[in-house]
Symmetry: C2
Subunit: 228 residues, 2 copies
């Protein structure tokens, strides 16, 4: 019968708590029931454990949220260096990040509210910077690029408001509201009517908008390359 190695002896037991297991369960819980459902008590009952036990592996709830955010970022698959130029390579990486982030709709809000990046997030940023530098952008311009891209690096929409539940709204109702807006908010009304009526615009294509914004920014950076 193989004896356990002297180091790390108990962590092998499958029902034992660990930071990784806690974070994974918290992510699953948030995926299933939403971020608000992630409380120490609910998480503990899901783990079959006392709520306070969690604190042996996690400093506090903020630390748990940090772990959840970093777990999502850790799942982003890196891209192989391509011959297609830095813009295409970065675009691929960022769209890969976006795919991962859309799998966990709550992640945008928690990544946005946390202030310290975790190790996976730092690694991701390093990859982004590597592509930029490899593409010939100066250090200053690469720094600018991080700011321009902002949290778009991680696939966020950064839209003005939550874009949730776009499907369950009645088009007729939207049209009525747009007409009510017309006197005081002419341009908003115009846009709402156009987007709704399928006249000029189709239904707002979030993914298309994300790509449009990304391309516009990458083009702008390319135009600065070697100039700054």
């Amino acid at each position: 019968m193989p004896r356990r190695p002297p180091t790390e002896p108990r962590t092998a037991a499958p029902d034992r708590l660990s930071r990784a297991r806690i974070v994974a369960d918290a992510v699953a819980l948030a995926d299933r029931d939403g971020l608000d459902a992630v409380s120490m008590r609910k998480l503990a009952t899901g783990l079959g454990v006392d709520p306070m036990s969690i604190y042996n592996h996690v400093r506090d709830k903020g630390d748990l949220l940090d772990g959840m955010a970093d777990a999502v970022v850790a799942a982003i698959e890196p891209v192989a260096p391509a011959e297609t130029g830095w813009q295409a390579e970065l675009s691929t990486l960022i769209l890969s990040a976006r795919r991962e982030m859309l799998r966990h709709p709550w992640s945008a809000s928690v990544l946005g509210s946390r202030s310290q990046p975790g190790p996976a997030t730092l690694t991701h940023v390093d990859r982004v910077l590597g592509i930029l530098r490899g593409g010939g952008l100066s250090l200053e311009l690469a720094h600018h690029a991080l700011h321009v891209l902002g949290s778009r690096i991680l696939g966020f929409d950064e839209s003005l408001f939550d874009d949730t539940a776009p499907a369950d709204v009645d088009p007729a109702l939207v049209a009525a509201q747009a007409r009510a807006w017309a006197p005081t908010l002419p341009h908003v009304a115009e846009l709402a009517l156009a987007a709704n009526h399928d006249g000029v615009l189709g239904a707002c294509d979030d993914d298309g908008e994300f790509r449009f914004a990304l391309d516009l920014i990458l083009d702008g950076l390319e135009r600065h390359r070697g100039r700054v």
Copy 2:
């Protein structure tokens, strides 16, 4: 002795509650003690009133937060139409929004988390759209522009992490950490050392970065004008 007009008779009393007074107090409270300090109980004691009284003027806490966010946006001063072109005009408006938003550091997080825009926010968006349309951008491109700008319209940084407390970090400590990063995160380390050492980059100028990003985006949109 002038009798009160029959309509709206009591609201004239100065110590009476009103949605406006509640929201204003909540904003002041958040400014002073941070957003977490805004609880119905604390707000009520500040108003000299029972916590439950607030619910006569506000549906729930979410409604209160909506009101706070919209109050911040309402304070943005509109810009006079200028002869300098749509980019300069929009830039001025957005920087004015940024000024207002920096006065209330909590506003970014609450505006980001709310899902329904208030009347002042809609008015602001209408002004932005008006400038874009007036500048000759098609309805589609103006729509794109909203997405590219995202919450930058309201002056947000949209940075990857909270940029709070940049001054109280020890440069030597940052340098040490950067050197520790070097083996695994070479590009992050490079950037951190450069930004810290005052070698290539100065200290990260948030306002400068915001303007750089804004100009890059506005230039990109101008290049699309008439083309899409």
